[in-house]
C-alpha cells in the first residue's frame, strides 16, 4: 500500500520537475532579453531540481542514496540562486542594460 503511495508521489514529482525544466528551456529561447532569461533559467532550474531529486529520494533503496541525494538537493538549492544573482550583478556591472518597455 505504502509503495503505491510512494510511486504515485514520485510520478507526480518527476513529471512536475520535467514540465518545469522544459518550460525553463523554452523560456530561455523565447524571452527577448538577457535579464528576462535569467528569470526563466534561475527560477525553473531550482524548482526542477527540487522536484526531480525529491521524486528520486522517494524511490531511494538504501539510506546512503537517500543521504547523498539530500546533500545534492541542499547544495543545489544553495548555489543555483547564488549563481543567478551573481550573473545578474556582473551583467549590470559590465554595462549590459535591460531593454525597457515603451512606457505605456
Amino acid at each position: 500500500m505504502i509503495s503505491v503511495i510512494l510511486d504515485i508521489l514520485s510520478w507526480i514529482c518527476l513529471m512536475g520537475g520535467s514540465f518545469l525544466g522544459i518550460s525553463g528551456a523554452v523560456g530561455l529561447f523565447r524571452f527577448p532579453d538577457f535579464f528576462t532569461r535569467i528569470h526563466a533559467s534561475g527560477v525553473t532550474d531550482t524548482m526542477c531540481t527540487v522536484l526531480i531529486i525529491g521524486g528520486l529520494m522517494l524511490q531511494a533503496e538504501s539510506w546512503q542514496m537517500l543521504a547523498k541525494l539530500l546533500m545534492i538537493l541542499l547544495l543545489l538549492t544553495y548555489t543555483s540562486p547564488t549563481s543567478a544573482h551573481s550573473l545578474a550583478k556582473s551583467a549590470i556591472r559590465g554595462g549590459l542594460r535591460p531593454t525597457l518597455g515603451s512606457g505605456d
Binding site: 544553495y78 547564488t82 550583478k89
Partner: protein
C-alpha cells in the same frame, strides 16, 4: 533507452565541437569547452565507467576551465582574423585521413564483444584475482595503485613536472604584500556568505573522495582536484592575497614534492623489507593487509601532489593578472 541517451549526447558533442571551431570569442569557447567536458562525463557514466567520469567532470569542467580563463585574462579576448586562403587542400588531407581511420575500424571487433582480444589475457586475471590478492572492492583502484603502480608513479611525476614548469616560466613574485587585486568579488555579499560556507564542505568532500576511493569511484586524482577547487573558490571570492595568507607558496612547494616522495618511499620501503620496488605484499603481516596499507599511502601521495600542483598553477596565473592590474593603475 541507453541508446537514446548515447545518440543525443553524441549529437550534443558534435554541435558543441562545431560551435567551438567556428566562434571567435574566446570566453564563449571556454564555456563551450566546459559544456563539452560535461557531455563527455555523462557519456562515461552511461558507459558505466564511473572513475573516469568523476575525473573528467572534476578536471575538465572545473580546473581546466578556471586555468583557461586565467590564461585569457592575460591575453586578448578575440581570436585573430581567419587566413584568407581557401581551405581546400587541408580539407582534402583531413578527409583522406578520416576515411583511412574509419576503414581501419571496420576490422575491429564489435563493441563489448566478449571474444575480443582485449578481454582474453590480462583483464580476466585482474577481475578474478583482485578480490583475493588485494581485497578492495574497487577494481579500478586496485589496478591503478597496485598492479600498475609504477605507471601511476610516472603519472604523478608528470603532474609534478608540470607544476615545476609553470613555476619556472611564470615565476613567483616573492613577498609583495601590497599586491592586491582589489578584493575581487568582495563587493557581492551573497556570494561571500555562500562561498565561505561552501569551502569547508568541499574540503570535507575531498577527504571523503580520497579515502572512499577504494570502495567506490574516487581516489587520489579526483580528491586533489576537488581540494584545489575549494581553495580556488576562496581565492576567487576573497582575493588572491588572502588566499596566499592561508596557504603560502612555500607550503605548496613542500606539498608538491612530498607527495611524489611519499609514493617513491613506499616503493623503497618495499625493497627494504625484502621485496621488489613497489611490492606491497611485504608491508603488512599478511599480503592483503600490506596491499591495503600500500594503496592507502600511495593514493595519499597522489592526492597531495595533485592538489598542490593545481593550486600552485592557479596562484601563478592569478599573481600575473594581479601584477598587470597594479601596473595598469
Amino acid at each position: 533507452m541507453v541508446n537514446l541517451i548515447d545518440i543525443v549526447l553524441m549529437g550534443l558533442l558534435l554541435i558543441t565541437a562545431f560551435a567551438v571551431v567556428r566562434m571567435r570569442d574566446l570566453f564563449a569557447i571556454v564555456m563551450l569547452f566546459s559544456i563539452y567536458s560535461l557531455v563527455s562525463a555523462s557519456f562515461f557514466v552511461n558507459l558505466d565507467a564511473v572513475d573516469v567520469a568523476l575525473t573528467e567532470a572534476a578536471v575538465g569542467a572545473g580546473i581546466s576551465t578556471v586555468l583557461m580563463l586565467g590564461t585569457l585574462a592575460m591575453t586578448r579576448r578575440y581570436e585573430e582574423r581567419r587566413p584568407r586562403h581557401a581551405p581546400l587542400l587541408p580539407l582534402f588531407i583531413v578527409a583522406v585521413t578520416g576515411a583511412a581511420l574509419i576503414y581501419g575500424t571496420l576490422d575491429m571487433p564489435h563493441f563489448a564483444d566478449p571474444q575480443a582480444p582485449i578481454h582474453q589475457h590480462v583483464a580476466p586475471r585482474y577481475i578474478e584475482q583482485s578480490g583475493t590478492e588485494i581485497g578492495i572492492p574497487n577494481i579500478v583502484a586496485s589496478i591503478l595503485a597496485s598492479y600498475r603502480g609504477f605507471d601511476t608513479l610516472g603519472e604523478t611525476a608528470v603532474v609534478f613536472t608540470a607544476g615545476l614548469g609553470v613555476l619556472t616560466l611564470l615565476g613567483r613574485f616573492g613577498r609583495r604584500e601590497e599586491l592586491s587585486d582589489g578584493r575581487s568579488m568582495y563587493h557581492d555579499m551573497i556570494l561571500r556568505v555562500i562561498g565561505k560556507a561552501l569551502v569547508p564542505l568541499m574540503l570535507l568532500f575531498a577527504l571523503y573522495v580520497q579515502f572512499h576511493g577504494e570502495l567506490g569511484p574516487g581516489g587520489g586524482f579526483q580528491a586533489g582536484v576537488v581540494a584545489a577547487a575549494a581553495f580556488i573558490l576562496y581565492s576567487i571570492v576573497f582575493g588572491w592575497d588572502r588566499a596566499q595568507k592561508i596557504i603560502s607558496p612555500f607550503v605548496l612547494n613542500i606539498m608538491m614534492a612530498s607527495g611524489v616522495t611519499l609514493y617513491a618511499l613506499v616503493g623503497v620501503g618495499g625493497m627494504l623489507l625484502g621485496g621488489e620496488f613497489l611490492n606491497y605484499n611485504v608491508l603488512g603481516s599478511y599480503p592483503a593487509g600490506g596491499q591495503h596499507l600500500g594503496i592507502f599511502l600511495v593514493e595519499l601521495g597522489v592526492g597531495i601532489t595533485v592538489a598542490a600542483v593545481m593550486l600552485s598553477i592557479y596562484f601563478d596565473f592569478a599573481a600575473r593578472v594581479a601584477v598587470r592590474k597594479m601596473e595598469a593603475r
